[in-house]
């Protein structure tokens, strides 16, 4: 039994990806591992004084909440789920998480409207990047 890694941001737009990952986990009898990445790069856009460490802590709290919600969704479908929370840039952290032991598959959500983190063309390219760099297969759902 392996682990399916599903990067999520937790919003409604992520529910479709989460559901697809849950269905895959049920089908393959795998465990789900939700990933949330705390990225505070957007702070560069403001000229106001901010404390990145305090903002990162708040985003971590938010991430924990969103991950718990995702886990509850999985558990409703009798799928065992865990989570990891990392700090940094999404693409880099996703690749690092894909190399964790027991991760057998990475699930990426197909862009759905303007809420997605990826553009369609970039997603396929990124999937092959993960596969070639980590050796972990990627499924776009």
């Amino acid at each position: 039994m392996g682990k399916i890694l599903c990067a999520t941001r937790g919003g409604e737009a992520s529910y479709r990806t989460q559901d697809a990952a849950i269905a895959l986990a049920q089908e393959q009898d795998d465990e789900l591992l939700f990933l949330y990445v705390v990225d505070i790069g957007f702070l560069d856009k403001t000229a106001s004084a901010v404390r990145p460490d305090v903002v990162a802590t708040e985003l971590e709290n938010l991430g924990q909440f969103l991950l718990l919600m995702a886990e509850e969704r999985a558990e409703k479908h009798n799928v065992r789920a865990g989570h990891i929370l990392r700090h940094g840039e999404l693409r880099k952290e996703l690749k690092a998480a894909a190399q964790l032991p027991d991760v057998t598959l990475v699930v990426l959500g197909r862009p759905a409207g303007e809420e997605s983190a990826f553009v369609p063309a970039g997603l396929a390219e990124f999937a092959s990047e993960i596969e070639s760099e980590t050796g972990t297969p990627v499924r776009i759902v």
Binding site: E12, L43, T46, S48, A49, R51, L59
Partner: protein, 591 residues
């Protein structure tokens, strides 16, 4: 015995010596005083009295602002004065108030046939003044002359275009998100000072100002106030107070989304007035998203009203927005001035905003959410707790004293910047006694941004761009104060939506200064308050209009809820029109 006599004899000698010294002193003091008096009376004895015949005047620009640093050269009978005459000035520079004083040489008095002043200054046309027959007669009778104010006309030089285009480039780069604001402002400083230094030596028309003059434009009241408040906020924000307040709002609302949004808007407005709106939104946004998800309400229906309220709330105090800090420092407005003159307007705008928001999101607010699981509720409780209660108690106490000092500051001659520094130092000594913490909480990038901005705005002021804008607006509004209020409020509100409001406000301040001095009835600072209302509330019109909007959008995006330019505009722009209208109405009623 002999030894005893010797000692006694020594004592007698010593006593005699001391007495002698005292006697000499007592005698000599009156003698010296008498001598001094005699000497002074000799000094006061009739001597050939030095007659100071002077020529004084004052230089102003077309907006009646004093012209400092202009060179004034005096010519008598066609040639420059001062050929070796001790104590006479052949050339003087106008002072800060534009005044100049020229002492005329004694030797020439009585035989002056012509008297000419030649005045020159970079960015101004040269001016020549000729004495009339009457003036000459006065001079020859050894009477001083007081000239009427002289207006020297601005001149458009290459330096004018360099400074103006650099400022426009900075605004464009920031608006298009091509460069960080600080980097853009620093680039502006480098261009202006570089061209001014190198180009100015080749052709004086390329000269904007030198480094010393550039530094004179930096308002250190603003720098220290911003720095002090950064430290204070940096300590308070660690305590979890914002998150606790948001969680209490959730509990108080009892699952009613409409009530929750009202409480959250009130919290963000008050917090923004006392601290700053960007920090408020940075800390309120994550917990608000969690609360929204817990109540099964769209997070944006809580976040957007919060950020709109936060941009409005900041207007009511001197420290609430960076633009108010700039306005207060420039116009000398106190904490109380903002509080008294703007808080009712802010409350009116918040009432209007609340009505609009409840109407706009009525569909979502009337829905009842599902029940939250115990695990998620516990997580929410965890996010909404005060993390450092001791630190909160101490920092809260210091902050309360700071507020008292801000309010009383004017009476006890305590500048807001000094209060902020006192509070910051108290925080560092008592609450977080660690110098590393200070380095961590001060955002040096922001301070560099303000310093650079002052220099760039100083450059456009120096070369006459501001003066040109001021006279154009002055001509447009004439003597009508109502029109002036409407023009300042609405133009700053609409422009703040597309260009960064801090550089805009900094550039507008001298313009407002001119309008306040020339429009009848505007001396009560109403136009400064108009700028405050327009520039801060105008930020609600677009996503890029205020930093708080961008950080809220940034965090919401991290949770999968994207706030796009269009989605923000749909809600923010009508809200901006309504609230600016309310603010404008208040200003017209109040003043």
């Amino acid at each position: 015995m002999a030894k005893c006599r010797r000692i006694r004899s020594k004592r007698v000698w010593l006593a005699t010596l001391i007495l002698g010294v005292i006697s000499i002193a007592l005698v000599s003091v009156p003698w010296r005083q008498a001598n001094a008096l005699a000497s002074s009376s000799r000094d006061l004895a009739p001597m050939p009295e030095a007659q100071h015949v002077s020529l004084t005047g004052r230089l102003v620009d077309p907006t009646s602002e004093p012209v400092e640093g202009a060179t004034v050269i005096l010519y008598i009978n066609g040639s420059p004065v001062g050929s070796g005459e001790e104590g006479t000035e052949i050339e003087v520079e106008s002072a800060v108030d534009g005044a100049f004083v020229l002492d005329l040489p004694q030797t020439d008095l009585g035989s002056v046939e012509s008297l000419t002043l030649k005045i020159s200054r970079p960015h101004f046309s040269s001016l020549e003044w000729q004495a009339t027959e009457q003036d000459l007669a006065k001079i020859n009778r050894s009477e001083s002359l007081r000239l009427a104010d002289m207006t020297i006309e601005r001149r458009v030089t290459p330096a004018f275009w360099i400074a103006a285009l650099t400022f426009v480039a900075i605004l464009t780069l920031v608006a298009l998100d091509k460069l960080h604001t600080t980097m853009a402002a620093l680039l502006g400083v480098a261009i202006i000072l570089g061209v001014s230094s190198v180009g100015g030596t080749v052709d004086p028309d390329f000269f904007v100002f030198d480094f010393e003059r550039a530094i004179e434009y930096v308002n250190f009241d603003v720098i220290f106030l911003v720095m002090g408040m950064m430290i204070v906020i940096g300590v308070i924000e660690e305590t979890g107070i914002f998150q606790w307040l948001a969680y209490q709002a959730y509990r108080l609302s009892g699952g009613r989304a409409w009530l929750l949004v009202i409480i959250l808007m009130l919290i963000t407005a008050v917090a923004s007035a006392l601290l700053d709106n960007v920090t408020t939104m940075l800390l309120m946004t994550p917990i608000t998203i969690q609360i929204a998800l817990a109540m099964e309400v769209g997070p944006l229906s809580l976040l957007i009203p919060e950020v709109l309220a936060s941009n409005i709330g900041g207007i009511s105090t001197l420290i609430g927005t960076p633009t108010n800090i700039l306005i207060g420092a420039y116009a000398g407005l106190s904490f109380n001035d903002f509080l008294v003159h703007l808080t009712p307007g802010v409350l009116l705008a918040l009432v209007v905003l609340t009505g609009y928001i409840l109407l706009r999101y009525r569909g979502q607010f009337l829905q009842r959410g599902g029940k939250l699981s115990e695990t998620l509720l516990e997580r929410l409780r965890e996010s909404g707790r005060i993390t450092q209660p001791d630190k909160l108690r101490m920092s809260g106490f210091i902050f309360a004293i700071m507020l008292v000092l801000f309010v009383l500051g004017e009476r006890i001659h305590l500048a807001p910047a000094v209060t902020a520094i006192i509070g910051a130092v108290a925080m560092l000594l008592w609450v977080t006694p660690d110098i590393e913490s200070m380095l961590k909480v001060v955002d040096w990038t922001t301070l560099v941004f303000f310093i650079s901005l002052f220099i760039v705005v100083g450059a456009i002021q120096e070369v006459g761009v501001i003066s040109m804008i001021a006279t154009t607006i002055g001509d447009l509004v004439g003597d009508n104060l109502t029109v002036a209020i409407l023009v300042v409020v609405w133009s700053s509100a609409l422009l703040s939506g597309v260009i960064a409001n801090i550089p805009f406000t900094a550039a507008m301040l001298p313009v407002i200064g001119y309008l306040s001095a020339t429009i009848p009835g505007a001396s009560n600072d109403v136009l400064y308050y108009s700028l405050s209302v327009g520039s801060a509330m105008g930020g609600n019109g677009t996503l890029i209009g205020a930093s708080a909007n961008l950080v809220t959008a940034g965090i919401a995006d991290r949770a999968g809820y994207r706030i796009t330019y269009a989605s923000f505009f749909k809600i923010g722009f009508p809200a901006m029109i309504l609230t600016v209208g309310a603010g404008c109405l208040w200003l017209l009623l109040r003043f």
